[in-house]
């Protein structure tokens, strides 16, 4: 998809006919019945990284958006009108995201906005939304302190200070089974939304008296993990804390394996889930998560239906990992938030929607969101998951752990 290519998702020929017929019926004073949509579509505009270095994750958000829109249209749409998703490819570039959000508002004249993928692109879109006073719900913003627009609503449920809460959760989880590390090696990509978490881990380790055996930063896109692995091996810490995004964790583990070294305990901030779980090297790997296709998170009928649809759609889209996890879950939650606000207020007015979300939060498959903290961030809903028997299980906090599972530490 090239620059500016536009995909409208959600209005099929049958739905268009139904919408036209519904409009005629409405004009004749005859109401619609449940499950039917009528009238002009509600147009939700957004961009995703469908090409470029972030495209592998952008593809997940496209699949989820399409699922949600199809479900919603089949259930009667938004305010009785079908939803149409005006989706543009920002090519993973923040500057293009900014231009396209401007276009969505001024040229395409969309009714509502849905955020792009990834922190930098969301930040670009947020500036545009702020200029036009539009509400911006988004799914994957990683640095809460940078989001100071009062009508932005994040579905990535980090809480206001993830640089403190996320590393603390790892130390707490290990401490709960008597495996508090004495030393930590912190190795991080310079990708902004993981680098600041790793920097926070240094502080948390210091506060808890855990000695820092190694701290390293490397460029996003680094290919050669051999020398980094050699330094990790030499540090031989009790906990390897990796500011990982994508496949960094798997690449580092492979490089360590070539040096005949396996970390005792190892944590990855945002790893690509499939390869870590399927590789023997990923055994006992820990990672952050907001959502997994696991009890108790997937117990609701909505979550179960979503899981079924996502498995099928992800396989059809040729995604290697077909279980809904953090990316898919928060993406779905973002659409749920926007829809809940519209249905509750019966309005597409940006101020009314923002007021509703600020006051009531939103119920989603990820959990109950609140936006009453600094920069519209509410409680931290992140969890810790671990690879056990070649599959991810949630192990922390205890009340949300996969039934029968506890963290395994060394």
């Amino acid at each position: 998809m090239g620059t500016g290519d536009c995909t409208a998702v959600g209005v099929t020929r049958r739905e268009a006919f139904a919408a036209g017929a519904g409009f005629a019926l409405a004009a004749a004073g005859i109401g619609t019945v449940a499950g039917q949509t009528a009238g002009a579509p509600v147009r939700v505009g957004g961009t995703l990284a469908l090409t470029g270095p972030l495209a592998q994750t952008g593809a997940i958000h496209k699949v989820v958006g399409e699922i949600f829109i199809e479900q919603t249209n089949q259930a009667g749409g938004m305010l009785g009108r079908p939803i149409e998703w005006v989706l543009l490819d920002d090519q993973s570039k923040p500057d293009l995201a900014r231009t396209f959000y401007e276009r969505l508002i001024t040229v395409d004249k969309v009714d509502l906005l849905m955020g792009p993928y990834a922190t930098a692109n969301i930040l670009s879109a947020m500036a545009v939304a702020q200029r036009f006073n539009k509400i911006l719900v988004h799914h994957t913003f990683g640095i809460p302190k940078l989001a100071n627009y009062d009508k932005h609503f994040p579905a990535w449920p980090l809480g206001p200070e993830p640089e403190k809460t996320m590393p603390a959760a790892v130390f707490d989880a290990l401490a709960s089974v008597g495996k508090t590390p004495k030393t930590v090696a912190i190795v991080t990509s310079k990708f902004p939304s993981v680098q600041f978490i790793a920097a926070g881990a240094r502080e948390i380790a210091k506060q808890r008296g855990v000695a820092e055996a190694l701290y390293l930063e490397f460029e996003f896109g680094n290919r050669d993990f051999g020398p980094i692995a050699a330094r990790v091996r030499e540090a031989d810490a009790d906990l390897l804390f990796v500011g990982a995004i994508g496949l960094v964790g798997s690449q580092l583990l492979e490089a360590l394996d070539q040096l005949n070294h396996a970390p005792k305990n190892h944590y990855y901030v945002y790893p690509t889930p499939g390869p870590l779980a399927s590789s023997p090297l990923g055994a006992n790997a820990l990672a952050a998560t907001a959502y997994e296709d696991l009890a108790p998170l997937n117990a609701s009928p909505v979550a179960m239906e979503f899981s079924k649809l996502f498995h099928a759609a992800a396989a059809k889209a040729n995604l290697p990992y077909v279980a809904p996890d953090t990316q898919a879950g928060t993406s779905y939650a973002a659409w749920q938030m926007l829809t809940e606000a519209v249905n509750a207020t019966k309005s597409l007015d940006d101020q009314a929607l923002a007021d509703y979300l600020k006051k009531n939060g939103a119920d989603t498959i990820v959990g109950k969101y609140r936006f009453d903290g600094p920069n519209n961030y509410g409680p931290d809903l992140m969890k810790v998951k671990q690879v056990q028997d070649a599959a991810w299980d949630i192990v922390w906090p205890k009340e949300l752990a996969t039934p029968g599972k506890t963290i395994l530490g060394k």
């Binding site: 952008g58 593809a59 993973s92 051999g226």
Partner: protein
């Protein structure tokens, strides 16, 4: 820093350097002898890597067998590409734009077929590592290094000790006089382009074996390999190998001694230093 850490880092750099040399070999040949700055070379490397992934992962073919099939196939692609360039008279500077466009097309094709998501080959040529004292050399990387050194030496020997190699160099100096002596300029150009693409295929097999693949990673190799090609001197197979080793070791030692984040600075610092101190080299 311990001697083991330093030695292990140097070893890792040597392996990276061998791969840089192998990936740069085809590029340096087409740049020097065809006057084509072939950025599509990187697209072909990744196309070969994805095809290797496909045949090995889905069809259970051995990586070397996949490579044996891909090398002649890509030779044909290279010949076809050069035929089109000759047909449409693509010269040196326009070739940058044309081949960049081809790279984007190849990237889109890869994404369309294999998706934008990460893929990783779970196969090894030989699992494990060779122990050299306290150092470990992974077998896959040793084999890759062997192929890289052999390829560069073979091309050097071909250029220097065969009639075709000498004809190629004569053709570069003065194509009209060379043609008068019976040098088939056009056919040689097709062979060089085919060989360059075949080396891209060979490099792609090892990229698939050693690295995780995503379509957009095509561009992450571009800067460092072009730096290696320029450092090595255009059309110099042994130069490109030596430059690759120098850059690889410089990156690895920077990672081990200073900060991994500084490693990308190494190749370009070397390039600038050579440009300033030894400009006639490039």
């Amino acid at each position: 820093m311990s001697a083991t850490l330093f030695g292990q880092s140097v070893l890792s750099g040597l392996f990276s350097g061998c791969l840089y040399g192998l990936l740069g070999l085809g590029l340096t040949l087409s740049w020097r002898f065809l006057r084509i700055i072939n950025l599509a070379h990187f697209g072909l490397i990744f196309l070969a890597a994805y095809l290797t992934y496909h045949f090995v992962q889905s069809r259970g073919v051995s990586p070397l067998l996949a490579g044996a099939g891909l090398v002649p196939l890509f030779f044909g692609l290279g010949v076809a590409q050069q035929w089109l360039f000759i047909r449409f008279r693509v010269s040196e500077l326009p070739s940058v734009i044309v081949t960049f466009g081809l790279t984007i097309i190849i990237e889109a094709l890869i994404q369309w077929i294999w998706s934008a998501d990460f893929v990783r080959l779970e196969t090894h040529l030989v699992r494990g590592s060779l122990k050299i004292g306290s150092l470990l050399a992974p077998w896959d990387e040793l084999i890759m290094g062997g192929f890289a050194v052999a390829s560069c030496v073979a091309v050097w020997a071909y250029l220097n000790f065969t009639w075709a190699g000498k004809a190629l160099r004569a053709s570069l100096d003065d194509p009209d006089i060379a043609a008068a002596f019976g040098v088939p300029n056009r056919r040689l150009a097709l062979v060089v382009s085919g060989a360059a693409a075949a080396f891209a295929a060979m490099g792609g097999v090892f990229v698939a074996l050693l690295y995780t693949l995503t379509p957009s990673q095509i561009y992450s190799w571009l800067g460092v390999v072009i730096a290696v090609v320029l450092l090595g001197g255009l059309g110099r197979p042994l130069g490109v190998l030596a430059a690759g080793l120098l850059v690889g070791v410089a990156e690895a030692v920077t990672m081990a001694l200073v900060e991994p984040a500084w490693a990308p600075i190494a190749p370009f610092s070397l390039l600038i230093a050579v440009l300033v101190l030894w400009p006639e080299r490039i």
